[in-house]
């Protein structure tokens, strides 16, 4: 194949960072972190893919069929769990921050500094 998946991975990372930097709403910010995370999915996926090979599931095919890299897919599974858990905590923080500060705009939070 080509280098397009890597370019997409880089783009997702940068786009997500842009969203975090410019965010005016903490829930938006948290979702943008999810976009950064998906950059690592695309990168890992591209690294584990093998042209012309099949998925590493040997139910209906002989066990010696050439398959794509299962290690990377296992890493991605872990990665997805990490994403959803981190986002759950961050959303919880955002909800509680709204309770305490009355706003979700990071520009208006100024309880700690210096």
């Amino acid at each position: 194949m080509n280098h397009l998946p890597y370019a997409v991975a880089a783009w997702l990372f940068l786009a997500g960072l842009w969203g975090v930097i410019t965010s005016r709403n903490l829930i938006h910010l948290v979702i943008c972190i999810g976009v950064i995370q998906s950059s690592s999915y695309v990168l890992l996926l591209a690294i584990g893919y093998r042209v012309g090979r099949v998925a590493p599931v040997f139910v209906d095919i002989p066990a010696n069929t050439q398959a794509v890299d299962p290690i990377v897919q296992a890493l991605m599974l872990t990665d997805i769990v990490v994403e959803v858990t981190v986002i759950a905590i961050l959303l919880g923080l955002a909800v509680q921050i709204h309770k305490g500060h009355g706003t979700l705009n990071p520009d208006r939070l100024s309880k700690v500094s210096g």
């Binding site: 194949m1 080509n2 397009l4 998946p5 997409v8 783009w11 997702l12 786009a15 997500g16 842009w18 969203g19 005016r24 709403n25 829930i27 938006h28 979702i31 943008c32 999810g34 976009v35 998906s38 999915y41 695309v42 996926l45 591209a46 584990g48 893919y49 090979r53 099949v54 998925a55 590493p56 599931v57 398959a67 794509v68 897919q73 991605m76 599974l77 997805i80 769990v81 994403e83 959803v84 986002i87 759950a88 959303l91 919880g92 955002a94 909800v95 709204h98 309770k99 500060h101 009355g102 706003t103 979700l104």
Partner: protein, 83 residues
């Protein structure tokens, strides 16, 4: 190029959808866009021969995550801005 049209196409879709997620500033609409994005990622995993990951991405990215976002939004809405 045409050889990998399916792969290239879904990659471009994912990139565009991610940009849309970032640029959707209203969290309520963003929850919908992000659910669509999760689905796209799942399809991409299928195309790239990763059915395990695709299944897990679809249950997480298209169901669990948007659900949590909507619930968080609902709680925030209920509180309303503090005066």
């Amino acid at each position: 190029m045409s050889e990998y049209m399916l792969q290239n196409g879904i990659l471009v879709f994912v990139a565009v959808a991610a940009t849309a997620v970032v640029l959707t500033r209203d969290p309520a609409s963003q929850a919908i866009v992000v659910s669509f994005y999760g689905l796209l990622l799942g399809i991409m995993f299928l195309i790239f021969q990763a059915p395990d990951v695709a299944l897990s991405q679809i249950v997480v990215g298209a169901i669990a995550l948007p659900l949590m976002i909507l619930l968080a939004l609902a709680r925030v809405r209920k509180q309303g801005p503090r005066t």
